[in-house]
Amino acid sequence: SAVISQKPSRDICQRGTSLTIQCQVDSQVTMMFWYRQQPGQSLTLIATANQGSEATYESGFVIDKFPISRPNLTFSTLTVSNMSPEDSSIYLCSVANTGELFFGEGSRLTVL
């Protein structure tokens, strides 16, 4: 298993600002993923955070809006840039281990 810590757990942000979410894992992992869960919705994969190279983004998500860093095998950040109210969501970091995913508790962002 893996223990994942995310910061911040929640924040209220102003339109047009950017916020960086941190994800720390208690062990080295190859694959880290960032998901978004909008109110009342299921999880949507934003990107795969690759150590030592650029993140791989899913359709509908771009690096300029959601830049990702992965400086080592235990840490990643997701930035939500130039936020609008539509970005209000829970952002979840996850890691893969033998097929199953382990999730952090999520970062709940509200954009006013």
């Binding site: 993923f33 299921s42 994969l45 795969t48 893969a96 199953e100 995913l101 999730f103 508790e105």
Partner: protein, 112 residues
């Protein structure tokens, strides 16, 4: 594109009964399918994984079936308890591997 559908309606059952949740998918042949539990304000927690060559898998009061011909998985909780109340998500793997796509989830409520 791949599509996953779960029972859209919330499921309300009496304590002690068996809860059965459905997950249907189209346009895809996953190597494995997973079920997660999500409580309000928390990240999803892994429950079970079933591979394409497995018909059924059990874990304590949980049972999952996987019919690749019907493109359907059924998730059963026997002898249900109020503590089983949560949202249950099914997820399929996406190539090249490690990534999952999630259904919208089914909210289960077990009444005492």
């Amino acid at each position: 594109s791949q599509k996953i559908e779960q029972n859209s309606e919330a499921l309300n059952i009496q304590e002690g009964k068996t809860a059965t949740l459905t997950c249907n998918y189209t346009n895809y042949s996953p190597a494995y399918l997973q079920w997660y539990r999500q409580d309000p304000g928390r990240g999803p927690v892994f429950l079970l994984l079933i591979r394409e060559n497995e018909k059924e898998k059990r874990k304590e009061r949980l049972k999952v079936t996987f019919d690749t011909t019907l493109k359907q998985s059924l998730f059963h909780i026997t002898a249900s308890q109020p503590a089983d109340s949560a949202t249950y998500l099914c997820a399929l793997d996406l190539p090249p591997g490690g990534k999952l796509i999630f259904g919208q989830g089914t909210e289960l409520s077990v009444k005492p």
